[in-house]
């Protein structure tokens, strides 16, 4: 695993394509700049040392409540406490995670891209892996992430006229959320 980390570092690092690298229970994930996603993917796929030639999955994550939840321990109810904000701008709200797999080496790698709420456009990787076709459509459907260059970006699971993005964290759990929560075509 350390080895893989080094190799990924060696491949992407010099070109400045690594924003951060984390490891959790043996799962290596590398965060890359959004603008150069396709370059990264090409590099990861074609570098002879890595050969991540299989795209396992693509999906979005909404980090709306993630960082707030992390910081303070739960306060007893009723007490109004201010959530202390960290310095600097808050991290972008959305994340797109690509699960890559190298068939030859049976190694897995998570590639992350952070997407801010005001610029929801990500390059589509369908030109590299067709496997991303539906997962990207689903990410669009569920989070409103827009994938540039996707051949047929429309809603997948929800119906076409559905006005909201249900997997976002602020989508209400009860009632007809989309009625109160119009975000479509904002």
């Amino acid at each position: 695993m350390e080895d893989l980390r080094e190799r990924v570092e060696k491949c992407l690092g010099p070109k400045g394509l690594v924003v951060a690298m984390t490891e959790c229970r043996g799962d290596l994930s590398v965060e890359v700049p959004k603008a150069r996603l396709l370059d990264v993917m090409h590099l990861l796929k074609d570098t002879p040392d890595l050969e991540f030639d299989f795209l396992s999955d693509v999906f979005g994550v909404d980090n709306l409540a993630f960082y707030e939840k992390q910081k303070p321990k739960k306060k007893p109810e009723g007490e109004e406490t201010e959530v202390k904000k960290e310095k600097g701008p808050p991290p972008p709200r959305f994340e797109v995670i690509y699960l890559l797999l190298s068939l030859k080496r049976t190694e897995r790698l998570q590639v992350k891209v952070r997407v801010a709420e005001d610029d929801m456009e990500v390059d589509s990787v369908t030109s590299i892996w067709k496997a991303a076709t539906w997962p990207e459509r689903e990410a669009f459907d569920m989070f409103g992430l827009r994938f540039k260059g996707h051949p047929n970006l429309k809603r997948l699971l929800m119906w076409d006229e559905f006005p909201a993005y249900p997997l976002r964290k602020d989508y209400p759990l009860e009632g007809r959320g989309e009625e109160r929560h119009l975000v479509y075509g904002e």
């Binding site: 109810e77 602020d170 209400p172 759990l173 009860e174 109160r180 929560h181």
Partner: protein, 230 residues
């Protein structure tokens, strides 16, 4: 792209259709004869697969079957339930509601614990029969029984209250269909250093009198609502 495939060379037997078809027909004939013979045997369950269900109830249901719920009594005929509400909290479908009652003097032969459930409601239309409640129950009070005929005519009938749950238990006891006592699952003995501290310290505060055990996610939902209202 669907690619064209070089067709396999068929053997002569495969080519002329009839041979394999005759073989297949021999097989179905074998089954046919067997089943015709079987169906003339006396008894309701003749052909191996078919249970003539409403008449023939000889099929043995697993003793651990997860069917209709019941509230158990202990050997002295006292209610086991102590209204701790663990089942309600564990239920993924949020279909259990428990109300607490405190045992009064002179009710020792009625309730096993100091607390008892003043009411115990299960909405069968929500229940997914996962069995997590009976597993969570510390007293083995709520148990899923072997009764599997759950169809009812009205919604009200699908609502199980305490009386019905106890009646289920009595019925099962009469028929000898009680669930065998739970076997403890052997756990790894020497605890490795826990990764996270369990939330066991979080003792549930019990108010005096009757307290409705709230659904676990209620708070979260309220918070969510407040947020979205902004």
């Amino acid at each position: 792209m669907a690619r064209p495939v070089v067709k396999k060379k068929y053997t002569l037997g495969e080519r002329i259709y009839l041979l394999e078809i005759l073989k297949g027909m021999a097989l179905t004939w074998k089954h046919f004869v067997f089943n015709v013979k079987a169906s003339f045997r006396p008894g309701p369950h003749t052909v191996p697969t078919c249970w003539q269900y409403p008449e023939d109830r000889t099929r043995e249901i697993s003793p651990v079957y997860r069917g209709l719920h019941m509230l158990c009594l202990d050997e002295k005929g006292r209610e086991k339930c102590i209204a701790c509400g663990t089942c309600a909290k564990t239920c993924p479908a949020h279909c259990i509601t428990v109300k607490k009652g405190k045992r009064k003097e002179g009710e020792e032969d009625k309730y096993a614990g100091k607390m008892y459930c003043a009411s115990f409601d299960i909405d069968l239309l929500h229940c997914i029969f996962c069995g997590l409640c009976q597993e969570a129950c510390p007293k083995e009070a709520i148990v899923l029984g072997r009764e599997f005929e759950l169809a009812q005519y009205t919604r009200e009938e699908c609502h199980l209250d305490k009386q019905k749950l106890l009646a289920n238990y009595r019925k099962a006891k009469e028929e000898g269909k009680l669930r065998p006592p739970r076997k403890a699952v052997p756990v790894v003995p020497a605890p490795p250093k826990p990764e996270v501290k369990g939330a066991s310290s979080k003792a549930t505060e019990v108010k005096k009198g009757q307290v409705e055990v709230k659904k676990a996610t209620k708070k979260a939902k309220n918070a969510e609502k407040a947020k979205s209202g902004d």
